[in-house]
Symmetry: C3
Subunit: 327 residues, 3 copies
């Protein structure tokens, strides 16, 4: 999810032309794609993330990989530059589409077909958003995943063969008024805030993701942990439901926003860290409003708060002379 290189759209100027990437390089696009959900391009981080998904449940691992491969392959076949594909930037939305759809629609062949179709649409949408956001130097983030998954989930009840696979247990919601938070809610909530980026709500799965981040960068891991804590505290201060806090639902958007604004897309500085903290807190606060909004139409919050808040906080930088973009 790093800013696209200047050679994009011009396949002839690439060192490695799209027609002949090596098989190892091609295979590594998959773990890199998974790692890019958290803005990392290290395939080791991606491999640890894949382990975490399988620990969370075999279906998350399998459907997440299916989505990653389908999205990456679509981008390759439609002629996206190899540089963009190689960094995993064409895979991560597919990863989340796979994990999200299997969570909301259940395991079935129809869900597998939908994951492939949604990943294809997500790849086209990624390209469209890159065109639209280019003048503002904004990355697409997980917006294509959010758009495609929202459309599928809202439309699904209209289709008998799609919705029949729907699991009874819906994931916890962030919309009911709150009660007292226990120590158990607190410490598990901080780890779950990291795992919920991938829809996971077991603390040890969140811990594996945190280890994966630390392999890539200690700064990123620290930013993720601090942001998850901050998001949880914001929700607790406002009086959110303890169950939602414990499930990490106020943390995961803060985590992504915190990583993005702490050195990744904005130059690291004291003002920059304060700015990142304000952004992470805003993403946590916005979670409730968007959850209420999507509940009305049967949608889900996904990573919408992160996408919207981080776009705004990056687009503001040219006007704010105390801050600078990294690229």
């Amino acid at each position: 999810m790093a800013p696209p290189s200047s050679s994009e759209g011009d396949a002839h100027g690439e060192e490695r032309p799209p027609a002949s990437p090596g098989p190892v390089d091609a295979a590594l696009t998959v773990p890199r794609g998974v790692a890019q959900v958290d803005f990392q391009s290290s395939h080791w981080t991606g491999l640890i993330f894949i382990v975490a998904l399988f620990v969370g449940g075999w279906e998350f691992g399998v459907f997440g990989l299916l989505g990653t491969v389908a999205a990456t392959l679509t981008a390759y076949l439609l002629g996206v530059t190899w540089n963009q594909i190689s960094l995993g930037l064409e895979g991560f939305c597919g990863t989340l589409i796979g994990v999200g759809l299997v969570l909301y629609l259940g395991t079935s062949w129809m869900t597998a077909a939908l994951v492939i179709g949604a990943a294809v649409a997500g790849s086209v949408l990624t390209a469209a958003m890159r065109t639209v956001l280019k003048p503002y130097n904004l990355p697409t983030f997980t917006a294509p995943f959010c758009v495609v998954t929202t459309a599928v989930v809202i439309g699904a009840p209209s289709f008998e063969r799609v919705w029949s696979g729907h699991p009874d247990s819906s994931p916890p919601s962030a919309t009911d008024p709150g009660t007292a938070m226990t120590w158990h809610d607190f410490w598990q909530g901080v780890f779950n805030g990291i795992g919920q980026v991938f829809f996971q709500d077991e603390w040890y799965v969140g811990l594996i993701f945190l280890i994966g981040l630390a392999v890539a960068s200690r700064l990123v891991a620290a930013a993720a942990f601090a942001s998850s804590l901050l998001g949880l505290l914001i929700g607790w201060w406002f009086g959110a439901q303890a169950a939602d806090l414990g499930a990490g639902l106020y943390g995961y958007n803060a985590v992504l926003t915190g990583i993005a604004l702490t050195g990744t897309f904005i130059v690291l500085s004291p003002v920059g860290v304060v700015y990142a903290a304000i952004g992470a807190a805003t993403a946590a606060g916005l979670t409730a409003g968007l959850t209420d909004l999507f509940d009305v139409v049967g949608g889900h919050t996904l990573t919408w708060p992160f996408v919207l808040v981080t776009w705004v906080f990056l687009a503001a930088v040219p006007i704010l002379s105390r801050l600078r973009r990294t690229a």
Copy 2:
């Protein structure tokens, strides 16, 4: 709805200045406007479309023409270049506003006044969207119609004199879970998919529209027919309600998307045709989600799926080296 010429915004550079178009040329803007709903600029096609509307019901013909004239006249009075007006590009949203509002609000003088007011607002919105979309080289499509009609239909129940004219029978909806499709549903659904672009659900009206398209171009007619069939099959595969399939509700957005992406705005090629088929299928799939979304607030699906999907599929082209825009 072809890409606007390079001389737009500069009335002095036109061959025919706006102050003095010939009476025949001025009169032909009306059928051209109706034809532009399906991206055609042939007035013969437009005349056949007008016949189809009157066969569907006198009110569709009369209110459709009223909207076309009101929208075109507004654009002329506000100083839009004659080139843009002459091609019918300022009329087609007015056509659909007229047909849509008389369907949802019933025949009355108040509806006629609303059609004129909505067509005026639609013309201003068309100009605003052209400004905003110009850097991305995207046409406005039927988006102004969708925005204006959605606003009027959602707001209408607040107004006693507007809503009193509301007909009891609402058009068929695409949101209930499905059953088995009959042969009758199937073959009528394919023609209705072409007619539903103009809110028509009689197979022979759809057939007249298809003839109108064939007069302009056999390729366009073939793309429309194939896209309607594809949209219906997608809906059937997912398990949509047979009545909705038979009414063409999964076809009309696929039809518009299919025509737009097959040679109209993207250069015709094998990859381009596959891309158009993916786009048409996506538009059909998106229909259910948007219908569910609009149902919550009393809105209607209109041609939103076509507009959104086709914008995305065109905006993606600069990133996808296997595809090229026609202009």
Copy 3:
């Protein structure tokens, strides 16, 4: 809310560097910020507006000032140019955030904290929107206020400590079908249309705002009065509820749109005045649709109709050769 100067984003080119504005100049940014809600930069107008707010209720004055100061200070600390701050352009969204949140959430320390947090977010959003709208030469208007307040109000019921301060009496809504308008509704409604820009529904408060406008410019005051009258008449003609008309709910968006399009952002001319009247009428008509839309999710209409309609009517100008922008 005047078009930003060409030196924005370059603090070095300013006459008065951000580090050392005089104390009087710094203090005057507050009334100027309040005045900019109605596009004025006169601090006398702002002082009269502040009086009007306190006449409406102490909490509107206090929370409005709190929001103005918080938003302005945030912009200053993040390095927005002093020119932009000095004109009050960084304060007015904070004013409305303060007044709006105290109306919907009640007076409490939590509301005060939320006003500060929302004003900070609103300042960042203002900077982001300026970046995005710059290529189209569109001002941000009250959009940051609308976005932030909508997000807070929709999310508030999820938070026990935020929502407990919620007052029982909700403001009048513009969504119920109408009855006969009395003379009392009529004349009070015209003044209330001016006061409702700041959520005030006492005719004499509206009158004080009108006096404040007249101090700045008689043309602006006349445009505001005529637009409020026009909005009310549009609502009455369509058959809106008399109570809503009397509360000025169909007037305030027309007022802002009318001022913006009459000489403020579009060069004054006969065609321009007709265009402004169409815009004001459109904003009044759109009020019902947006109110119905926001009701579903627990949001409020705010000044969304003004923002959306005025953006469209300004963005259209480059295509419409009979009209010209002021800057």
